[in-house]
Every structure is written in C-alpha cells, then in structure tokens.
C-alpha cells in the first residue's frame, strides 16, 4: 500500500500544454497514472494527446473530471497563482514541480494553505510516486519497484540514487515523496515521517536531507518519541562552504545553523541509522531493518 497516492488518484496537470508539462504528463500516463484533465488558461476545450480534456480553470477541471490531485508545471512567475487556484478549488493533493518560485510568493501561498484542507508537496521537487500505481512527477518510473519501504527526500536525483540502491538490493518502495529543495515549501520531513509511521504497509523508511533549515532535526525529535519503525537517513552537504546556496534555494548554512553535522547528530540521537556516504543509503536502510 502507500501514502497520499494510489490507484484511486485522479490527476489534473496544470500547465499541460507547455513543454515540460506535456512531456511529463505523457510520462505519467505511460506509467499508468490516471491523468483525467489538464488546465491551461485560454486552451479550454482542447484535448491533450486525444485523451485528456483541457480546461481554462481548475474549478472547471474539478467539476468536470473529478480530479483529486494536481501536478503543477507552470513557470515560476505564475506558479504561486496556480497553487492557490488548486487550493481554492479544493484539490486534495497539490504537487508543485516548478523550480525557482520567489520566496515571498511561497510565503503568501503558505498563508492560503493554512486555511485549507489541501496538502502541498514541493515546490522544486521531483514529485511523489507509489510504484506500480501512481506516478506524479518527473522521476524515471522504471527505477522503482512496489514494496514496503518509504522514501522522503529534499532532492531529485539523490532520491533516484537511493531508490535505485533499494530496488537493486531487492527492496521495493511503498511511496517515495520528494518534498523539495526550497526554503519555504509544503510537506515537511516531519509530516512525511508521520505519514509513513502511520501507514500499515510501510515497514521502514529512509529520510534524505541536506544542509539548511532545521526540518531534519524536527523530524528526528519526533521519530525519537513516536516512531517504532526502522529508519535510515543520509544528509548531503557535509563539505559545503557556509553562506553559499548549494543549488537548492534552501540548501545554505547561515549563521552557523543548518550544518550537516548538527543534523547527523540529531538523527543519530534518535536511533536512526546514518549512511556514511550517498553510495550506502540502501545499505543503511537494510542495516536499520536488522
């Protein structure tokens, strides 16, 4: 089984007629995701690839197609507007792939989100996948395998690396959640850890973090008190110079806070098995399983 997405997920793609929106909508369709509608303002009435109806607004898409999740591929300048549109239309799960949304825009989005029932994943993330059932995002589907290991990560390709190591070792995944690399974003490490802890079909999970912020520490503190499942972790950025943004807008050590060593210590203190190198993420999870 899984968390958040499964065979019952009915996906809307916002920005479906754009370059990347179209490419990845096709990728999701090929994987078997039930893509039920698209939205591009001004393109209402068109049909994407002869099978997915396109609407002008999310409200129309919701009413006509019964979508309960959305994948957003709208350029940074307009992405916050698209997220808020999805939230207002009552879409249960909003997955924002877009990279480069201004922080102030995300701050306003979070204010909107606080008064809604929608869950936001991302932005600046690879998306979420429940192998064999539903893929929402840009990850290569074939590296995944259905199973009972949960994956939470702030990164894209580093997540693929971890998933690949697990799959190669014969450990499939329940759900993989890319929470994204921006400083202000939706679902946190902690919230994802809570979901996996409560999910009866997830046996263990791996948390992949990086420098910047304090989400890994918060998740570690919660796991220490509340989670009996085996947990492994890896933190990227031990060699990153302080004060520099390492690609992800949120990956920065500022004022001595958000270092890899502080995060590693908090995770270790919570009894979580740490991978020493990114080549050993799968091995750390297997070790945690005992």
């Amino acid at each position: 089984m899984s968390v958040l997405v499964n065979n019952d997920t009915r996906l809307l793609v916002q920005g479906i007629t754009g370059n990347s929106g179209a490419t990845h909508a096709r990728g999701c369709l090929e994987y078997g995701t039930n893509v039920v509608s698209g939205v591009t303002p001004g393109r209402g009435g068109q049909v994407f690839d002869d099978k997915v109806p396109v609407f002008d607004t999310v409200v129309e898409a919701r009413e006509e197609s019964g979508c309960n999740a959305t994948m957003i591929f709208v350029p940074p300048a307009f992405a916050a507007d698209s997220i808020m549109e999805a939230v207002d239309a009552g879409i249960e799960l909003v997955v924002a792939i877009t990279e480069g949304i201004p922080v102030a825009d995300m701050m306003r989005v979070k204010t909107k989100l606080a008064h809604s029932k929608s869950v936001l994943i991302g932005p600046n993330c690879p998306g979420i996948i429940t192998p064999g059932q539903c893929k929402i995002g840009i990850m290569p589907g074939y590296i995944h395998k259905p199973g009972d290991i949960g994956v939470i990560s702030r990164s894209g390709t580093l997540t693929y690396e971890a998933v690949w190591q697990l799959t190669e070792a014969g450990y499939g995944q329940s759900t993989c959640i890319g929470i994204g690399g921006d400083p202000i974003h939706g679902m946190t490490h902690l919230q994802a850890a809570q979901l996996f802890t409560e999910d009866p079909d997830t046996r263990a999970f791996i948390l992949i973090g990086e420098i910047g912020g304090s989400e890994e520490e918060e998740a570690a503190a919660w796991i220490k008190e509340n989670c009996d499942k085996p947990v492994a972790a890896f933190i990227a950025g031990a060699t990153a110079p302080p004060g520099r943004r390492m690609g992800h807008a949120g990956a920065i050590i500022s004022g001595g806070k958000g270092t890899a060593s502080a995060k590693q210590e908090a995770l270790r203190d919570a009894g979580i098995v740490l991978a020493d190198t990114p080549a050993e993420m799968g091995a750390a999870l297997i070790k945690a399983l005992g």
Binding site: I101, P102, V103, R154, E161, T239, G247, P278
Partner: protein, 393 residues
C-alpha cells in the same frame, strides 16, 4: 546576490530610509567635488568592495584601512587616491583581496547611540521577521549568544504587513525615547517597504544610529536578494558586480550552470543539487578534495555540458574530473554526447571518471565506448569516488 554600500544607500534614498548625505566617486576629482558639496567639516571615505572588515583591512600597497575620516575635501581626495585602483585585503576578502574601483564619500555623523535592525526571510516561521537590538555596531551573533534578552524578534504577517504599532513598539523596546520613537518607526516602515518591494532575503542595518542632532539614520547596511525573484526586478539584477565574483562562477552563470568554486583538485559534474553535494561529500570521504560544486540541472543541453567541461578543465588546480549522472529528465546519451564533443574540442589530459545511471544508460555507455575517448568508467557512485581519488594520488 550582494550589492555595494553605495548601491544600498541609493536604494535607501529611493524608499525613504534615512542615511547620512553622500555620494559615490570613481576619481580623486569626483571625491573632492562630492566632499565640497556635502559642506560638512569632516567626511568619511569608504572603499567599495563586497567583503566586510574594510576598516581594519590593508591595501597591497601597504596603505592601512579602507575607511577613513577626513577633515577637508582635499584630504578626502588624497586618501581616495590611495584607495582607487588598489587592492584591499580584509579578513573576508581572501588573500587575493578586492580591487577598489569606487569609493563612497559621506558626511560624518556624531553618534549618540547605536542600534541593530534587520529584516530577514525566516524559513521556520515562513515569514519576514524583524530582528532588532539595543546593541548596535557589534556582531549580532555575539549578542544572540551572550545576551539573547537584548534581541527582539517580530514576525510580520505576509499579507497584512508591518503595522504602525509594531514599528513603534519595536522602537520603544530597543531603547528609543518617546520623541525618537516616530522617526525610528518611520525608518522601520520604509525599510520593510523596500524589503518587500524588491524581494529581499535580508536587509541588515548595523549600526542604526541616533545622531547627536536627534536623527535616526542607517549608517551601514547589508542586503541579500532572493535570486528566484530577480526576474521581476531588472533594476536590482543590474546592481550585480561580476568583478566581485569568482570568475569561474561568472563564466558558469552565463550558461545557466549552477557552479560554486572550492579549493580542491577533483572537479565534479553532476545533475541535481542534492546529488552534486553528495558527490562532493563522497570524494572527501575517500580522502580527496572536491574542486567545485556543479549542478548541470535537470535538462542540460549538449552545449551546457561542453561549457561545463571547459570551466572545469580550465581551472589550473583541477587534476581529475568526475562525472556523476543519474538520468531522470536528463538522458544519459545526451550527457555522453556532450562529453564526447567536449573531449574532442578541448584538449583534456586529465583523468576523466564517468559514472552514468538512469534513463537511456545503455545508449550513453555505448556512445562513450565507441567514441574511443580515454576515460575511466565506474560501476557505482562509491566506485567512481574511489577511482577519482586514486587518479590524483
């Protein structure tokens, strides 16, 4: 992105944040002219470089200090003559120092009291937060560490903004008197307006001063801007001074490559920021030293890959190049073709270690094999890092 002090002053002027009168100058004659126009008894001449610690810095010529108090326009000109065109080394500039092309000439102010005032985009509260203190002109990290009770933090509601009462309360809480409260609150409101209007990540005024004339002014400031928002602020993007940046990083930014120069000898080229950081970490883990962080992005083109190689191979410190690609959006065959093109164009005599995995990996590996390029292939990330470290041993 950083900006110069004179640019910060111009932004403050535009948004109504009070600062001492002054202007920027590029020649000795301009310095004298600005100082005369100011008409004050003394002026301050400040070297314009991005690094902090200017006052205590030393010019490579031997001249001491990048900040000087001068008692006449002529003296200001004479001092500026010793700064302009010279290289200033400070504890933040690195040994190579920074070339001074401009100086700020400002009226000197008589300070009654110094304060600290900053607005930061705070990821924990997900709001802009005002941080203020009665302790100004000192390192705020020390205040936070030793006397945290002297630091106040006020989160500002994202859509309501800074309210008048909040600004007045902050002013009183950090020690302004009843009559000083209004000018202080006015400055706070103007600074908040500037912060939001230009998508800042930080505006730090240190020190914020009360002059002996009872005026509240921003004496020095540090700005940070949200790079993601520069597209909607061309006037801010234009303030970028590439002379102040690592030339390798300037070259990379022209091709939308995410590059940060480090001091090691193993260069790496990776797709994705998290994996790029992790690749640096694993190089270090096996006893090597990464020369850089380089994320070629999710959808890099052949041209970007070629330019990335040019930058890596052109760095004299680099002794080996490690390519680590996990193809998701990016296809391994595209990367492979980029590597082949780059190797053909650039004479590379460095060991090249390549690890490819993911989308179209078979095609990518085949292209590399058939190209006849001299490279070391790696089976996985650990293997790649070990081989890279061995190649420079």
């Amino acid at each position: 992105m950083n900006i110069h002090e004179y640019q910060a002053k111009e932004l403050f002027d535009k948004y109504g944040v009070a600062t001492p009168a002054g202007g920027v100058a590029e020649t000795v004659n301009q310095v004298i002219e600005v100082a005369r126009e100011l008409g004050t008894d003394t002026v301050v001449v400040k070297a314009q470089i991005h690094a902090g610690g200017r006052g205590k810095g030393t010019f490579k010529s031997g001249f001491q200090g990048g900040v000087h108090l001068c008692d006449s326009p002529e003296k200001a000109g004479e001092i500026a003559g010793k700064m302009l065109g010279e290289v200033l080394v400070t504890h933040q500039s690195g040994e190579e120092g920074k070339l001074v092309n401009k100086v700020l000439v400002a009226a000197s102010v008589d300070i009654d009291k110094e304060f600290y005032f900053a607005i930061l985009m705070d990821r924990e509260t997900e709001r802009a937060v005002i941080v203020a203190s009665s302790e100004g002109g000192v390192d705020i990290e020390d205040v936070a560490e030793n006397t945290p009770e002297k630091l106040i933090r006020v989160p500002i509601h994202p859509t309501l903004g800074l309210q008048g009462y909040q600004a007045r309360t902050i002013a009183k809480q950090i020690g302004f008197t009843s009559e000083q409260m209004r000018p202080a609150a006015k400055l706070f409101a103007a600074a908040y307006k500037l912060f939001m209007a230009t998508d800042c990540s930080m505006v730090e005024i240190n020190p914020l001063v009360l002059t002996t004339d009872g005026e509240v002014q921003a004496l020095d400031a540090k700005f940070g801007f949200d790079d993601n928002a520069l597209f909607r602020h061309p006037e801010i993007a234009a303030l970028r001074d590439t002379d102040e940046e690592d030339p390798r990083e300037v070259a990379a930014s022209k091709f939308d490559l995410n590059y940060i120069g480090l001091d090691g000898n193993i260069a790496c080229m990776v797709n994705g920021a998290g994996l790029a950081m992790a690749t640096m970490d694993i190089i270090k883990h096996y006893g090597g030293d990464p020369a850089n962080f380089l994320d070629v992005g999710g959808g890099a083109t052949e041209e970007q890959v070629r330019e990335a190689f040019r930058i890596l191979a052109g760095d004299p410190k680099v002794e080996a190049i490690l390519v680590n690609i996990f193809g998701g959006i990016m296809q391994c065959d595209v990367i492979a073709q980029g590597i082949i093109n780059a190797a053909e164009e650039i004479e590379m005599n460095l060991p090249l270690i390549v690890r490819l995995e993911g989308t179209n990996v078979a095609e990518g590996r085949k292209l590399l094999e058939e190209s006849g390029i001299n490279l070391i292939t790696a089976s996985d990330l650990g293997d790649a890092a070990k081989k890279a470290v061995e190649s420079v041993a």
